[in-house]
């Protein structure tokens, strides 16, 4: 057997407490992120079993899924949501877990605040009861979503039991075209692999495109790994990663930093290490993307028309059901379709660079009258940066308002629900039926595409509005 290891092997193998015969590995978890929705039953479990929390300092709790994005200073109106938030606060307190609840200055979406405060580090194993935990793979961590039973396991033993996934590498070489963002890269990959094409695999993203990406862009790409079925995705840490991590609240300092750096620099795939599957795409084939169906794999270049069912492999009935839900027809163009809502935010595209991109297009323009726009920063830190960088003034001038941080309309657990039948361009991660509210219809896209839709009131190629910036 080859002794050459992939990045994934290095991190995984160093965290295996033991291998269970004819079963999974017992995997040690360095960082456990917790939010209010998938944790209460896990806390009940440790209470019932009287098992306690083994390493409370390795778990971090924040409230995000179920929080309002206006008037956060007032009591939460929905009694069920309020109850869940209270349960998290009480559980965190009882077990000595740090808790950044609603109103806390560090509050925000769990996958936005983790990196912001240096909780997310290269080479770590990170889990959370949320499938978009894959975001943290951008730092060369193994990060993935778990169920509530597993949340309980991590609380009580800091371990979960997982069979080691297969390994896939996705290479994209070359330079991205004008107007193409990390979101487009991810939606392109998913459209090529389908929503289940990477199920059973852990992905490493490699090549020029990812090397040249900012940390925030890498987070967007890794975030969407789950949308092609992969448990997670990761990118080898480099100088950009170390620079980002350095000096944050939970980042090691002094001698510990030197030790960490020495280790982190070893975290890359060895030359000649083997993957179970390897795919290569060309950057030049990618254009700004938009989805037209009810899963993230149903995406295409924004200038293209909706594929015909007979041109696809299998699943014709499901495909037609999906288009029926969207009220679209095969062969139609997406460009020019009137839209009702724009949502910028979420763990996919709720970071400062996303708001910079959005603002670059709406600057000097006005929000279209037919559009309701929800601008939801991923955290208070992002919210502050929007204000400090002067973006808020530009957005206000263009007729937009900024809301308070949270997951918001990405999953519409709070009041931010797109009404039935309405069409939303969203920078979030899922366009499933009813995802943004019962009967809502979602087009996933980048912050640039969302901005172009917000000011024109219809699906618009952002490159048309960016010409003067070129």
């Amino acid at each position: 057997m080859s002794t050459k290891k992939t990045l994934f092997d290095k991190v995984w193998d160093s965290h295996v407490v033991k291998h269970v015969e004819d079963g999974p590995d017992v995997l040690f978890i360095d960082r456990h992120l917790v939010h209010e929705v998938t944790s209460p039953v896990a806390f009940l479990g440790i209470k019932n079993r009287k098992s306690g929390v083994l390493f409370p300092n390795k778990t971090f709790a924040t409230a995000d899924h179920n929080t309002p994005t206006i008037n956060q200073h007032l009591p939460v109106a929905d009694p069920l949501s309020a109850n869940q938030l209270k349960a998290l606060e009480e559980n965190a307190k009882e077990y000595g877990i740090s808790h950044w609840g609603l109103g806390h200055e560090k509050n925000g979406i769990v996958h936005v605040v983790g990196p912001e405060y240096g909780i997310t580090q290269p080479g770590a194993t990170i889990v959370c009861g949320d499938s978009h935990t894959s975001t943290h793979g951008a730092f060369g961590a193994i990060a993935f979503g778990i169920g509530t039973s597993e949340v309980e396991m991590v609380l009580s033993t800091q371990c979960i039991m997982q069979p080691k996934p297969k390994k896939m590498r996705i290479n994209i070489e070359g330079e991205l075209n004008f107007g193409v963002t990390p979101k487009d890269v991810a939606l392109y990959i998913i459209s090529q692999l389908t929503t289940s094409g990477a199920t059973g695999y852990f992905v490493e993203y490699a090549g020029d495109v990812f090397e040249n990406m900012t940390m925030e862009g890498r987070m967007t790409v890794c975030n969407l790994s789950i949308e092609m079925g992969a448990r997670g995705g990761m990118i080898a840490p480099d100088e950009k990663t170390f620079e980002y991590v350095k000096g944050r609240e939970f980042t090691p300092t002094g001698a510990a930093w030197d030790k960490a750096m020495a280790y982190w620099k070893t975290l890359k795939t060895d030359e000649g290490a083997e993957f179970d599957k390897e795919l290569t795409f060309s950057a030049s084939d990618i254009e700004p993307m938009i989805t037209y169906g009810t899963n993230p794999g149903m995406g295409m270049g924004i200038s293209k028309s909706i594929p015909n069912a007979e041109d696809l492999e299998g699943g014709v009935a499901t495909y037609k059901k999906s288009l029926g839900y969207m009220a679209f027809n095969e062969g139609e163009d997406m460009i020019g379709k009137p839209i009702d809502f724009v949502f910028i935010g979420s763990c996919t595209n709720g970071r400062i660079e996303d708001f910079r991109a959005f603002t670059s297009i709406v600057k000097g323009r006005k929000k279209a009258d037919n559009v309701t726009a929800w601008l939801v920063p991923g955290s208070h830190k992002v919210e502050s940066a929007i204000k400090e960088e002067g973006l808020l003034d530009i957005l206000t001038e263009a007729g937009f308002e900024l809301r308070e941080p949270g997951c918001s309309a990405c999953l519409a657990m709070n009041d931010d629900k797109v009404p039935a039948g309405k069409l939303a361009v969203s920078t979030s991660n899922r366009n499933f039926e009813g995802r943004q509210g019962p009967g809502s219809r979602t087009l996933l896209a980048s912050p640039l595409v969302a901005a172009a839709a917000a000011v024109t009131g219809k699906v618009t190629d952002p490159r048309e509005l960016m010409k003067e910036l070129a």
């Binding site: 360095d30 979503g145 169920g147 033993t157 899963n295």
Partner: protein, 198 residues
């Protein structure tokens, strides 16, 4: 929480021949606000099952009295999307003990195994046979035999083997879960934690 043991399940089955059934369909996010594991079955497939005014949609299979049973047969890539264990809880709480599909999303499959719902992955050909058998006769019985790792269409005798790792199989047969296992090796885990690279 431990669950009922699973050995052999003979039951009629409910067909849902739709691909990529995601966990937002299995249980929409707005029904995830509970702090206890109770009542999720009521909201299983909520928006496919009920109209906006809470009246049942007559064309959805769970509202069709012709079909019932403890086995749900889903299309390819069943359970994609969110990691919410609530989806598996809803399936269990509604009364299903087994889901048959030609392909499962990872996290959903793991969640099912952790709570006592057996995910049975069969070939696309065998899945098509199961759907056809149910369509021909909604009372047709499917037999899922965990000790032998086989699934059989009782009437025709058509049978296929399915995979499950030995550890998970033993758990299902005995109604054990991973939490029991891990709680028993805590001291080993604490020792390991001292040896980590960072």
């Amino acid at each position: 929480m431990a669950y009922d043991k699973f050995e052999i399940l003979n039951s009629t089955a409910v067909p849902l021949p739709i691909e990529n059934v995601d966990t937002d369909q299995i249980i929409p996010a707005r029904f995830l606000k509970a702090t206890e594991r109770k009542g999720f079955g009521d909201n299983l497939f909520r928006d496919w099952r009920y109209n906006g005014d809470n009246t049942p949609k007559s064309d959805f299979v769970l509202n069709n009295p012709t079909y019932s049973g403890k086995i749900l047969v889903g299309g390819k890539n069943f359970g994609s999307g969110s990691s919410r264990e609530h989806a598996a809880w809803a399936v269990y709480d509604y009364g299903f003990r087994c889901v048959i599909s030609s392909f499962f999303a990872d996290i959903f499959k793991g969640n099912c195994l952790n709570i006592g719902v057996l995910p049975v992955q069969v070939s696309p050909e065998f899945a098509a046979k199961v759907f056809a058998a149910i369509e021909a006769d909604p009372n047709t019985e499917i037999s899922v035999n965990l000790p032998e790792q086989t699934v059989t269409i009782v009437k025709t005798g058509e049978k296929e083997s399915f995979d499950i790792n030995g550890y998970k199989k033993q758990n299902m047969l005995n109604g054990f879960d991973d939490i029991d296992y891990l709680n028993n090796i805590k001291s080993e885990i604490s020792e390991f934690a001292k040896e980590l690279p960072l």
